[in-house]
């Protein structure tokens, strides 16, 4: 479920950090920018187009970006990150966990008017990005008419829609829980998908949504660090449990 992604970025180190080892400052900056942030699908074409690191321009990230452009108002050539919030779309790879290593440091530059150094860094980041059809185990967070919500603790946005449950399934409105109406010779046996239960599921789809601010006309708040109820998660997984062996672990173990 984890992958190593090669990335390139220009890291800005302010002068008061110059006494520290460059690698340490860079590692810290990269983790500050990327850790715990999700991104939409796309390509690590960023090796060749650092300007794609601009926030709020996801369209660029899907294709190839051959030119490097200066950000208006920025003096540096490299693209500096502008962090807008915690669940910001970064670029298209998955949920960033932590820095793996730095593979190359190019020369550091100091630009007129800005005392900080800018270093182009080639590095590898550990990213949570399960592959299609991968089997994962998670805990049921809750049920709603939309389906069963599953969490891995560090990643919360997994949904198993009603059509991907073991059939026949029904939603118990009173208890707000999905139930597998398992047929036996004795008749239907109701198996409840309760909160906290461990469930084995298959990843069948993923979706990436650009959650960067859209501008002054947007009615969304920008300062909240928690997911707002109406705001879509930047990275969501769709699961399925409609095969033998999938679903609650307790359904398939024999004592």
């Amino acid at each position: 479920m984890f992958v190593l992604v090669e990335m390139v970025d220009t890291v800005r180190i302010p002068p008061w950090q110059f006494e520290r080892k460059l690698n340490d400052s860079i590692a810290e900056e990269l983790n500050k920018k990327l850790a715990n942030k999700s991104s939409s699908t796309g390509v690590p074409c960023l090796r060749q187009c650092p300007s794609a690191f601009k926030m709020g321009i996801p369209a660029l990230w899907r294709g190839r970006c051959e030119s490097q452009e200066r950000l208006p108002g920025e003096l540096g050539l490299g693209v500096t990150w502008r962090v807008h919030g915690h669940t910001q779309v970064v670029y298209n790879v998955g949920l960033c966990i932590c820095l793996f290593d730095i593979t190359k440091l190019e020369d550091a530059y100091v630009f007129p008017g800005d005392g900080a150094s800018h270093t182009k860094v080639h590095f590898r980041y550990v990213v949570f990005h399960p592959f299609l059809d991968e089997i994962l185990i998670g805990k049921i967070k809750g049920c709603s008419p939309e389906g069963v919500h599953v969490s891995l603790g560090f990643f919360d946005d997994i949904l198993i829609p009603p059509e991907s449950l073991q059939q026949p399934a029904k939603f118990d409105e009173a208890e707000q829980v999905w139930v597998w109406e398992y047929e036996t010779e004795e008749g239907a046996h109701d198996l409840y998908m309760d909160i906290g239960e461990e469930v084995r599921f298959r990843v069948v789809d993923e979706s990436f949504v650009d959650t960067s601010p859209t501008g002054p006309s947007s009615a969304e708040a920008t300062s909240s660090s928690e997911e707002l109820p109406k705001k879509a998660a930047p990275y969501t997984l769709m699961g399925s449990i409609s095969e033998p062996g999938l679903g609650l672990l307790s359904w398939w173990t024999s004592s």
Binding site: E6, E28, A35, Q48, T253
Partner: protein, 151 residues
Amino acid sequence: MDGRLPKDANAALLSNYEVFQLLTDLKEQRKESGKNKHSSGQQNLNTITYETLKYISKTPCRHQSPEIVREFLTAMKSHKLTKAEKLQLLNHRPVTAVEIQLMVEESEERLTEEQIEALLHTVTSILPPGPEAEQQQSASDDVAMDEEDPA
């Protein structure tokens, strides 16, 4: 040179064990260096590494080691599985044929019953059980199963 995906996307796959090692080492390092851990910029890193480590510590990778992983991969050579399939076996340590069938694509066509048994044997003999499995073992002794198991 054009921007492109790594040629072999599979080359970038990491096993849970590798991530477990990495996060454990990172935790040690940060404990030793102390001062910057609680600055606001590091909060995200703290949260994600804590939660991820918590999750994978409950999986079979918890008791794995580089030697075990190497032994496992060597033993896997004869079974002709893809990298992704071997990775799932390594991460999950399946103990039933049903689990093998979930993780190996088109297993009915590629593996006979005997081969599945052999695979299960390789997996369970080389890979140590995870912490959850050990818990289940002791718990199942005193929990009465009141539901019929779906066959």
